[in-house]
Each structure stands twice: as structure tokens, then as C-alpha cells.
């Protein structure tokens, strides 16, 4: 087992200023195990007193080799690994992967499945933003917000468990539709959630938004302008908080989003407070989408008819020979995909989540690449944190809302 080597300055000489080499500024390691870095992220800080001169992130401490491991499994089995990338937005990852597979093989999805996918993805967005709010409050030492947010999150996880049997890693969306139809109690559970949630959001706002300590610590901190953001590939709430109104659900609608009426919250200041406000507004917009989708939920099948890609229902297996053969081929070998490549992107709570999927004629993917939003969002942190104090760096890191599983894959 390799021992930890002492870091020497030669490795980072080209990244830090000259004052570090003489010892005038201090090089401090905000290490992989730290309560305020959201996961295992190592930040190398060059400090002049308490002011940050340079901030060099060192990632890779959670590298799981998902992209290579997916090449060894069939298309359906590889979906299991997609949940575990961005573990706050598990159903969103499933949606991105399943949409890429459907685009590659040319599979249709019935409207009932699309509507249920939208409902569950928006509920997952609310759950992810709740964890953001909890962690944001925790990093700024407001612990009661953390406990309140997790109370709401339990309601959403109960709904996920109702549909699929698992709280977090559901793998509920499959190519061609869903695993199975939602049970009868789904509608009452979601309607109960819609009834209680708006008052809770108002409760969080009364605790935080006009709080003078929060305003002192977040207004004007970590400014990011649109040009720098676009150069660094930043998308999602940080880009919308800087002023650009860009959301993939409105610009390139997928899975039936064009039928629903919702706004995209945008601010212009681009600081930490603006990023926090954008996500609070997104709570309300997501709830609007869930309500509209639930009201308009059409009847019908939840899976495509194409038996070459979707397993037949078990009731047919006793009567039809073709159903048996399709079932056998799908579960032993998997379905083949053409020798081509697609890129399909969805809007995750952190930004643009894209999947580059390349097939080679066989049942296993030739290459799966995940374009994850936290990777690009983190690369802008150096520019955002220059000149601020270390305590401000904690607030900036909390407001970008990174998930290390996304970055390291």
C-alpha cells in the first residue's frame, strides 16, 4: 500500500505565484477529508494571511472507472452504473442515459411514460436542491435548515420507494419507457407533497433570505460574469445567476417538456447570493411542472411496443412463442445497436448533463462518455475565489453545488 508522499513545491511551481517560492505566501492543503468540501476534493490554497491568492483543485479521489466499466456490460446492465455518478440526481442520470440509448437505436416512448418521467425528474430536482440548501446552511453554520430540508427529502424518497422499491438508486427508467407502471397510491402521495411544500419553501426563505448574517457573507462574494462562465463551460444555475437565460428544458425540449408552462429564474449579479436565490425560485417552478404533469397525465401503456428492445410482459410468455424468444434474447445477449454515435443532453440540477454514446453493432457500448456539469463548474473556481478569504471560499464552494461523483466519474 503506497504511503502518502510529502508534496513538494516543484509539482506546482508553474501554477503558484513567485511569492510562494520565497515563502512569503503560505501553501495550505484543504485536504480530501474536510467537513466543508462536498466530498473528497483537495484544494491547494496559496494564502497571504487569510486571503486566497491561488486555488488549485486536485480531483480524482473518487475515480470509479465507470466509463470503462460500462463498456464491459450490455446497454441495459450498464444503466445500473449510471445512477451512481451524480448521486443526488439519480433519476436524472437514468433519464440522460436512457434517452441516449433510445436516440441511438431509434426507439419511441409512449406519452404516459414521458409524463411520469417528467414528474419523477422534477421531484428529484427538488430533492437535490434540498440537499444543496441543507449543505449551504450547514457550511454557513445554520444547522436547523439542514434538519428541515432532510425532513422534506424523506417525503420525496418515500415516493421513489413507492414506485421502484429503492430510495435512491432506482434504475426505474428503462429504454422504451419505465420498468413498470406507477402504483395506485402514487397520485395521492404526490398531491399531498404538492400541498405541503410551498409553505415549507416560504419557511426556509424567512430563515435565510433576509438574514443579515447570510447577506453579509454571500452578497458580492464569488462574482462570475457571463463571458468567463461560458469560457469555462459553466451551465445550470451558476450561469443563470450570472445573467444568461439558458435552460435545456426550454431551448431543446425533450420528453414532453414543451407542453408545460414554467419560467426560468435568472438573476444578474452572479454572486453567491444570486446562485442561492435562483435555486429557491427553481423549487417553485419545479413544483408547478409536477402539478401540471400530474393533472395532464394520459392513460395508456408505459412501454414501447418494439419487442426487439423492450422485454414483453410476463403474461404473454405462456402463450406466444415470439415473446419467449424475444425475452430469451434480451436477457441473455441484449439488443444490438448500430455502428454510430449520438450525443444527448438533459438539464440536471447542476447544469448540462450529456451522454456521448457510441455503438459498434454489438450488444455492448463501444464508448460511453459522460459530460458532467460539476467538472466544468469547478474549473471556474480559481477565477471566482481570487482575493477572497478562506471562509468565503467555503461559501463559494457550497454555492456552486458540486458533487464529487459527477466530477471524478
Amino acid at each position: 500500500m503506497a504511503q502518502l508522499e510529502e508534496a513538494n513545491i516543484d509539482l506546482y511551481k508553474h501554477l503558484v505565484s513567485e511569492r510562494a517560492l520565497t515563502g512569503e505566501t503560505m501553501l495550505l492543503n484543504m485536504g480530501p477529508q474536510h467537513p466543508s468540501t462536498h466530498g473528497v476534493l483537495r484544494l491547494l490554497l496559496e494564502l497571504d494571511g487569510e486571503t486566497v491568492i491561488n486555488c488549485i483543485p486536485d480531483i480524482g479521489y473518487l475515480h470509479t472507472g465507470i466509463e470503462k466499466n460500462m463498456e464491459a456490460k450490455t446497454y441495459l446492465k450498464a444503466e445500473v452504473m449510471s445512477d451512481r455518478l451524480d448521486y443526488m440526481n439519480t433519476m436524472g442520470n437514468n433519464l440522460a442515459y436512457v434517452m441516449a440509448v433510445e436516440k441511438l437505436v431509434g426507439l419511441d416512448v409512449p406519452p404516459r411514460a414521458q409524463a411520469i418521467r417528467v414528474i419523477l425528474t422534477e421531484l428529484q430536482r427538488i430533492a437535490s436542491h434540498l440537499v444543496f440548501l441543507g449543505a449551504f446552511g450547514l457550511d454557513l453554520a445554520a444547522m436547523s435548515v439542514f434538519l428541515y430540508c432532510f425532513r422534506e427529502r424523506e417525503a420525496i424518497l418515500d415516493i421513489a420507494e413507492l414506485c421502484s422499491g429503492q430510495r435512491m438508486m432506482t434504475t426505474y427508467f428503462r429504454p422504451g419507457g419505465l420498468w413498470r407502471d406507477v402504483p395506485v397510491e402514487f397520485e395521492t402521495a404526490v398531491r399531498d407533497f404538492i400541498k405541503i411544500f410551498p409553505k415549507r419553501v416560504d419557511e426556509y426563505e424567512t430563515l435565510l433570505t433576509k438574514n443579515p448574517i447570510l447577506l453579509d457573507r454571500t452578497v458580492g462574494i464569488g462574482k462570475l460574469d457571463v463571458a468567463t462562465a461560458l469560457q469555462h463551460g459553466v451551465t445550470g444555475p451558476p450561469l443563470r445567476a450570472s445573467g444568461l437565460n439558458w435552460d435545456l428544458r426550454k431551448a431543446r425540449p425533450y420528453s414532453g417538456y414543451e407542453q408545460y408552462d414554467f419560467n426560468i429564474p435568472t438573476r444578474t449579479e452572479g454572486d453567491t447570493f444570486a446562485r442561492y436565490i435562483v435555486r429557491i425560485e427553481e423549487f417553485r417552478e419545479s413544483l408547478k411542472i409536477v402539478e401540471q404533469a400530474l393533472n395532464k397525465l394520459p392513460m395508456g401503456p408505459v412501454n414501447s411496443d418494439n419487442r426487439k428492445f423492450v422485454p414483453p410482459p410476463r403474461s404473454e410468455l405462456g402463450v406466444s412463442m415470439e415473446a419467449l424468444i424475444h425475452h430469451f434474447k434480451l436477457w441473455t445477449e441484449g439488443f444490438p445497436a448500430p455502428k454510430a454515435s449520438v450525443y444527448s443532453a438533459v438539464e440536471s440540477p447542476r447544469g448540462e448533463l450529456g451522454v456521448y454514446l457510441e455503438g459498434d453493432g454489438g450488444p455492448k457500448p463501444h464508448r460511453v462518455h459522460w459530460r458532467t456539469p460539476s467538472f466544468d463548474n469547478l474549473s471556474a473556481i480559481e477565477k471566482m475565489s481570487r482575493g477572497h478569504l478562506v471562509a468565503d471560499l467555503v461559501a463559494i464552494l457550497a454555492s456552486i453545488d458540486i458533487v464529487l461523483g459527477d466530477i471524478d466519474r
Binding site: S341, A345, Y356, R367
Partner: protein, 170 residues
């Protein structure tokens, strides 16, 4: 293809003598390695492709020339279109010029290419490994790098695997 894309693709074809591929309403334009920085600058400045969505590569081992295809996925917010550029790279001494002068995000993305595929980037300001630990030999996403699969333990082989596994004693 999209009408807005047609003019852009035609301009690229005239300038760089590229070939194109279309699949499911996406356009893939093949560009040579020497021309890629010019093409990216042209697309960013003249045709408003402000966002470099993805920069990755695919390995076609055992085919050696080209062995890798480096893929640039560009996205334009003002015009709401996407375009994909593919650069074929040979297997022995693979190298491409850096795109960090055009897009800042290419800094980290090219480090990932260097780490995972071993494609050398000419002119990169910070050529270090990003995801794998320092001192790793080999490049994991190449097709001739093994998966590193550990044999699953069933009842018939659990005793022998247990003896070989390095358990920590204290």
C-alpha cells in the same frame, strides 16, 4: 440537417476540405489535427459557438491509423444549434494542438485526455494527470488496458481467493 447549420458546414468544407457524417439529425465534421485550432476559433468568433460542451476521445484499437478520434462537441446559445468536430489521430505518438487559447475549459478536459488515453497535447500549460494518481503506468481508457477485474468469490473458490487477498490485520 438544420438550415442554420448548412451554411456553417459549407463554409467549413470550403475552408478545410472536410468530410461530414449525419446521423439522427446530428452533424459530425471530420477535421485534420493541424486545422482544429483554426476551425474552433472560426466557429467561436464568426458563428457564435460560445460553449464547448464536451471534449473526449474514442479508441478504435486494434486499428492503428487512425486509432483515436478526438471529439469536440460545440454548442451555440445565440443560434441554438450544436455541431460535432472529429479529429482522427494515429496510434503511434498521438498528439493534437491545445485548444486552451480558444476555450478555457479545454485545460482540464485535455488533461483528462492525456491521463485516460495518452494523447499528447502540444502547448498545454499544465500537462499533469488529473484523475489517476501520480505515477500510474498506462492509460486506463485505452482498449488494450485491462479492466482490472477481480474474480468473484463463489463457494468453490472462496478459500483460495481468501488466502491471496491482502487483508489488513491491525
Amino acid at each position: 440537417m438544420d438550415k442554420k447549420l448548412e451554411l456553417i458546414v459549407q463554409a467549413l468544407q470550403e475552408k478545410y476540405a472536410t468530410s461530414i457524417e449525419e446521423f439522427r439529425e446530428e452533424v459530425h465534421v471530420f477535421v485534420k489535427a493541424e486545422q482544429i485550432v483554426d476551425a474552433l476559433t472560426l466557429l467561436r468568433d464568426k458563428y457564435d459557438f460560445e460553449l464547448l460542451s464536451a471534449l473526449t476521445a474514442t479508441d478504435y484499437w486494434p486499428q492503428q491509423s487512425p486509432r483515436f478520434h478526438v471529439i469536440y462537441q460545440l454548442s451555440s446559445i445565440a443560434r441554438n444549434i450544436t455541431l460535432q468536430l472529429r479529429v482522427p489521430v494515429n496510434g503511434d505518438q498521438p498528439k493534437i494542438p491545445t485548444a486552451t487559447r480558444v476555450y478555457d475549459v479545454a485545460n482540464w478536459r485535455e488533461r483528462e485526455l492525456l491521463d485516460m488515453f495518452g494523447i499528447e497535447i502540444e502547448g498545454h500549460p499544465d500537462p499533469r494527470r488529473i484523475l489517476m494518481p501520480e505515477g500510474t503506468e498506462g492509460h486506463p481508457l485505452r482498449k488494450d488496458f485491462p479492466l482490472g477485474y477481480e474474480e468473484p468469490q463463489f463457494t468453490f473458490n472462496i478459500d483460495e481467493i481468501d488466502l491471496r487477498k491482502p487483508y489488513a490485520k491491525e
